[in-house]
C-alpha cells in the first residue's frame, strides 16, 4: 500500500472540508473492506484518507413509530443483521446485510460504504429500494435528501458530488401487516457476490396486497425497481397466474450482462424466479 496522510475528523463539516480541499486525491474510509483492498491492489491511490469513524452521529440506529427508521451510515452490517426492529419490520434489510462477505467482514463493513461504493450488486441496495429509503447526504454547505432510486448512476457511480458524504438512511415506519424479503442467488453460502439479488415488500389488505415494491440487484448497471411488475400486483390477490405475469415483467425490466460468474440468460430467468419467491414470502410475512 502506498503511504498517505490520515485524518480523523470529528464532525461532518470537517470531513467534508477535507474532502473538498483534497478534491480527487482523498478517499473516505468507513469500514475499509473495499477501500483497503483497492489501495493494496493500487486501483485506489489516495494521498489523503479521511476516516469517518470518529463522527458520533454517523453510528446510531433509531426507530420511532411516527418518523420511522434512521440508520447512520457508519452502522456495521453485522449490527443491522442482528437488530431486532430491523429483523422484524425491515426484514429484507437484515437479510441483505447478513449476505455480505462473512462475519469478520460484516463486523467492519458499513451500510454507507456498501451503498456509496455504487456497486449494482450491493446486497443492501435492493432491500433499501423496497423499504422506501431516503439517502441523507451532507457537505460543508448543507444537507440534501435523495430517494435511493435516484442515488445510483452506473457501476461505481452515484449522485455524490465533491465534498458530499452519505450520513444516514431513513425509511418510513412499517406496521405489522407489512412484510419483506431479500434473496441472493450465489454459489457459496457465504463470501460470494450476488449473481442476482431480489427484494420484495408488500402490505396485506383483506386478501389483497398493496404498496408492493420489488428491487433488483446485479442485473442492470444500477440497482433498480421492477415498477411494471409492481403495478400489475398492487391491489390484487397473489394468484399463481398473477405471480407468473409479474415474474415475467420483472425479468423484462432487467438488463443483465454475461460474465465469469453467470450468463445474462440465467440472470434474467432468476429475476423472475426470485421475484415470485420474494413476493410470496413478503406477502406471507405481511399476513403474520
Amino acid at each position: 500500500m502506498r503511504n498517505f496522510e490520515f485524518f480523523e475528523p470529528t464532525t461532518i463539516e470537517d470531513a467534508s472540508a477535507l474532502l473538498t480541499k483534497y478534491n480527487g486525491k482523498a478517499k473516505l474510509l468507513a469500514g475499509g473492506t473495499d477501500l483497503i483492498i483497492e489501495m493494496k491492489a493500487r486501483t485506489a491511490t489516495p494521498e489523503y484518507v479521511i476516516s469517518l469513524e470518529k463522527i458520533p452521529e454517523l453510528a446510531d440506529i433509531t426507530y420511532d413509530e411516527e418518523s420511522g427508521l434512521r440508520i447512520g451510515a457508519l452502522t456495521k452490517l453485522r449490527t443491522l443483521e442482528k437488530d431486532s426492529i430491523i429483523r422484524e419490520r425491515y426484514t429484507a434489510l437484515a437479510e441483505g446485510a447478513g449476505e455480505v462477505g462473512g462475519v469478520q467482514i460484516r463486523h467492519l463493513a458499513t451500510i454507507g460504504g456498501n451503498i456509496s461504493h455504487g456497486s449494482p450488486a450491493a446486497d443492501t441496495a435492493a432491500p433499501l429500494l423496497v423499504l422506501g429509503a431516503q439517502v441523507r447526504i451532507a457537505s460543508a454547505d448543507g444537507e440534501r435528501t435523495v430517494p435511493i432510486e435516484l442515488f445510483f448512476l452506473g457501476p461505481g457511480q452515484t449522485v455524490l458530488e465533491t465534498g458530499e458524504i452519505v450520513t444516514a438512511f431513513e425509511c418510513p415506519p412499517r406496521s405489522a401487516n407489512e412484510g419483506s424479503q431479500y434473496i441472493k442467488q450465489k454459489i457459496r453460502e457465504v463470501m460470494d457476490l450476488a449473481f442476482v439479488g431480489v427484494a420484495s415488500s408488500a402490505k396485506s389488505d383483506n386478501g389483497t396486497v398493496s404498496e408492493v415494491k420489488i428491487g433488483l440487484a446485479a442485473v442492470a448497471p444500477t440497482p433498480l425497481r421492477a415498477t411494471d411488475a409492481e403495478a400489475m400486483i398492487n391491489g390484487n390477490s397473489l394468484t399463481p397466474e398473477l405471480l407468473e405475469q409479474a415474474a415475467a415483467a420483472a425479468s423484462a425490466q432487467s438488463s443483465p450482462i454475461s460474465d465469469l460468474r453467470c450468463s445474462a440468460e440465467h440472470r434474467r430467468e432468476m429475476v423472475g424466479v426470485l421475484t415470485r419467491r420474494t413476493l410470496q414470502a413478503a406477502a406471507a410475512l405481511a399476513q403474520g
Binding site: 500500500m1 502506498r2 503511504n3 498517505f4 496522510e5 490520515f6 480523523e8 474510509l29 469500514g31 475499509g32 473492506t33 483497503i36 483492498i37 489501495m39 493494496k40 484518507v49 476516516s51 469513524e53 453485522r78 462477505g101 462473512g102 462475519v103 469478520q104 467482514i105 463486523h107 467492519l108 457459496r188 453460502e189 457465504v190 463470501m191
Partner: protein
C-alpha cells in the same frame, strides 16, 4: 509521511506506538509488536487467517488500519491460553485433529472464540455459517467443525 501515535491493548499489554497510516492492524501486530501468531494468508479479507478480536468482534485484521485500532482492545491467538492451560478451543483442535499444516488454525480458533462468546449454544449449521470467512486449504472442514462443537460443549459444562 507523518506517523501517528497509537495506543492499543493487545491481550493484556498496552502498547504505545508510532506507526505509518498505511500499516494494517495485521502488520502492526506482526511486525511492530512481534506477535506472529496471527497469520497473513490472502491479504484481501477472503481467507480469515488474520482474524483477531477487536472490542469483542472478530475482524479480518488485514482489512483494518493500525491507526484505526487506536484505543481499542485486541485479542490475538496468543491471548487465549492462560499461564499453563490451553483455551478449550485450542485443546479441542488438538484432541480432534482440527488442523494439518496449522496456518489457518489461529484464524479459525480466534473466529470460533468470538462466535462462541456470542452464541454459546450454537448449532453445527450456525458454526459452519459463522466460520465461512475462514478457509483451510489442507483438508476438509469436518475435523475443524468437530473441534469447535466439542469445545462449545466443554465451555458450556465448565
Amino acid at each position: 509521511m507523518k506517523k501517528h501515535p497509537v495506543s492499543l491493548t493487545v491481550n493484556t499489554d498496552t502498547y504505545d506506538l508510532l506507526i505509518e497510516p498505511r500499516k494494517t492492524l495485521l502488520a502492526t501486530l506482526r511486525d511492530t509488536i512481534g506477535l506472529t501468531g496471527t497469520k497473513e494468508g490472502c491479504s484481501t479479507g477472503d481467507c480469515g487467517a488474520c482474524t483477531v478480536i477487536v472490542d469483542g468482534k472478530a475482524v479480518t485484521s488485514c482489512m483494518m488500519l493500525g491507526v484505526s485500532a487506536n484505543g481499542k482492545e485486541i485479542t490475538t491467538v496468543e491471548g487465549l491460553a492462560s499461564r499453563d492451560q490451553l483455551h478449550p478451543i485450542q485443546q479441542a483442535f488438538i484432541d480432534k485433529g482440527g488442523y494439518q499444516c496449522g496456518f489457518c488454525t489461529p484464524g479459525f480458533i480466534v473466529a470460533s472464540k468470538a462466535y462462541l462468546d456470542e452464541n454459546p449454544n450454537a448449532t453445527e449449521a450456525e458454526i459452519r455459517h459463522a466460520l465461512g470467512n475462514n478457509i483451510c486449504r489442507c483438508t476438509g472442514y469436518t475435523k475443524i467443525i468437530e473441534a469447535v462443537m466439542s469445545a462449545a460443549e466443554a465451555m458450556r459444562n465448565a
